[in-house]
Each structure stands twice: as C-alpha cells, then as structure tokens.
Amino acid sequence: MNHDELDATLDSFGDALASATRVTPGNALRPEDIAVDGVAPSDEVAAYALTLGDDSLILAQRLSHWISRGPELEEDIALGNIALDVLGHARSFLTYAGLAMGKTEDDLAYWREEEEFTSLWMVEQPNGHFGVTIVRQLILSIYQHLLYSKLAESADETLAAIAAKAVKEVDYHRDHSIMWTIRLGLGTEESAEKMRHALEILWPYVDEMFLDEEIHRTLPEVAVLPSSLREDWDKEISAVLADAGLEIPATGQAMAHGRRGEHSEHLGYILAEMQVLARKHPGATW
C-alpha cells in the first residue's frame, strides 16, 4: 500500500475522526528557517546563544533517557514532549550561533570537546529517580521561564523570536514540574522524603545559574543578566516548595563554572554517548 492509498483508505472513515486527528504544522520558528533566512550574529551574540543552546542540549539529552522508563506511560509521553521542546530550543540557539562560525548545529553538538561546552552544572546532573528529575525540572523551568520572558525583549531579533516561542513551551514545563512537586511533596511520607533528598543533591548547583559572566556584561541590550533573575526565581520556587510542604535545603554551593568550560564529571560521559556514532564517521551525512 503506498501513501496515497493509505490516505485514501483513511479518508474514507469520515469527518468525525478527521477533525480529531487533523495535523497542522503550526507556524513556529524552526531551526531550518534560522539556518536559511537568519542573519549571522556577531561573535559575542553567538557565544551567548551557545550558552543557551548548550544548556538546552544537555538537558534534552538527559530528559530523553526517560522515554520508555517513566513511572506511567502517560508520563513517558509528558517527559517526551518536554525533552522534544527543549531539544528544539537547543537546535535553534545552536543553529543561530553556528551562523557566526560557519558551523551547523551538528558541528557544534558533535564535534566540540568537553571544555568547549558552556552548559551549567545543573543540566548535567543525573536523572536519578523521578523526584530528582522533577526537582531539576522545577529549578530549570522556573529559571528558563524568567530568562526567556526577558530574552523575548532582546535587541537581537532572532534571539527574541526563539525566546518568544520557547517561553510558551517552558511555561508548560514549569506547570508540569509544579504539579508533580506538589503531588510528591504532599503524597506519601516516602515521596516527601525522596523530594527532600532530591532538593539536597541538586541545590548546590543553584548559585551558578545566576552568575554574571563577561559575555553577559558585554551585551547589555541583547543578553539577560542572570543575576537579574534571582529575586523572582527565589520568590517563585519558595512559594511552590511551601505549597508542596518542602523547604529550601541548607546546603553549600559548589564552585561550578560551566560557562567557562569547567564541568562536573558527568559531562564527559554524556558527550561520549551523544557523540560516539557521529565521530565514528567523520564527514558522513545521516
């Protein structure tokens, strides 16, 4: 059966289903469009876009591991959606950054070394149990929501456009992680304990998310200053944790400097897995 035949067969089932399974592509900004129509950014803007792309890429890589392993099938799909959104953000940011360097998203994802990645330590943290992933999502989705809301006002039009789409998606990610934080925080004693533990192991990497680096300061109209997000982030996450019967843990803060290419021990393994096949076949197209 060819596809036309298939379509004809399916169309014979009438309107009731046709309307419920209608497929529309939407009109969002896609990485392909950026690659074709985009204006190359300056080196500084590209470096900034790279930091955002790297955060999303590594987070998507982590999240994608959940597909086929979720606590319930419905959750496989939810985490899959989130991972796909985040990977989409990564592709847009990396494609844009690559325009300044004559590189593609894949050149940047597969052919850079560990020390060239500029991602935060938070996104590198292992998935752990479901509660750890949810807390990491809570921390990051609130952060990215604030970040992209501001970035949507950036003087750089492409970054603003990517952020304007991403902020809507991240809003849903935030909602998802808040729902789960509350349910796991207030569910059973076991789940509350697991959430407390998750907060303890992730909290040391919070401060790094708000460190202002040289790259942010050189682009006052374009980049969002991470430190400017802290107050709102603190307020928002404290409120969620309070609703969930949880507290901000009393942990120290790691000396983490992912933006400078200094990473935790996890990133090497993430990249080894992600890059292994591409690197076995230099110059190949897929």
Partner: protein, 95 residues
C-alpha cells in the same frame, strides 16, 4: 497496590473553534488536573485541538444499548422532520 491505580478518564477534543468537542479516547491520571494535562500530551501532539474536556469514566451515564428500540424508535417514521420530505417545493430558489 490496587489503591495506587489511577482512575480512567474520557477525553474530548475540540479540534477548532466553531466545532463541538469530540470523544478522542481515554487515559489514566491520578486527578483531574493531571488528567487534563495528560490529555493535552496524549491527544494533541499534532495541533489537533484548541480545547479539551476530561470526564471521569465512572461519571458518564449512557443510554442502555439493550433499550435501543425504546429509546430511538420514535424518530423513525417521522420523515416530515427533514427538509427532503417536502418534494413539491423542490427546485424553488432560496427555499
């Protein structure tokens, strides 16, 4: 363990403004808030909807298929409820 099984919810999707919600299928979720989110993830992955309803399956009251005759016999034979019954006016414009 059986108390940790999530209840079944029926999902209705409005595919675009101006159309009714149509039954799409079901799913499991612990509560209503999660059910509507799961419905979004499961039944609208390809822009299939602009609005969703979820209803606990156990809350749906349906007609008894065994009483089909009693329920649905009456409209049979009442052809005069349909425009096509009126033959004499066929061909008259704007009617």
């Amino acid at each position: 363990m059986s108390q940790s099984n999530w209840p079944l919810w029926e999902v209705f999707v409005r595919s675009s403004r101006g159309l009714s919600h149509v039954h799409a299928g079901s799913l499991h979720a612990p509560d209503a808030e999660m059910a509507v989110r799961n419905a979004r993830d499961l039944y609208t992955r390809r822009n299939e909807g602009v609005s969703l309803w979820v209803v606990k399956s156990s809350d749906i009251i349906s007609s008894d298929p065994d009483e089909k005759d009693a329920f649905f016999e009456s409209p049979q034979g009442k052809d005069y409820r349909h425009a096509t019954y009126y033959k004499a006016s066929e061909g008259v414009k704007h009617l």
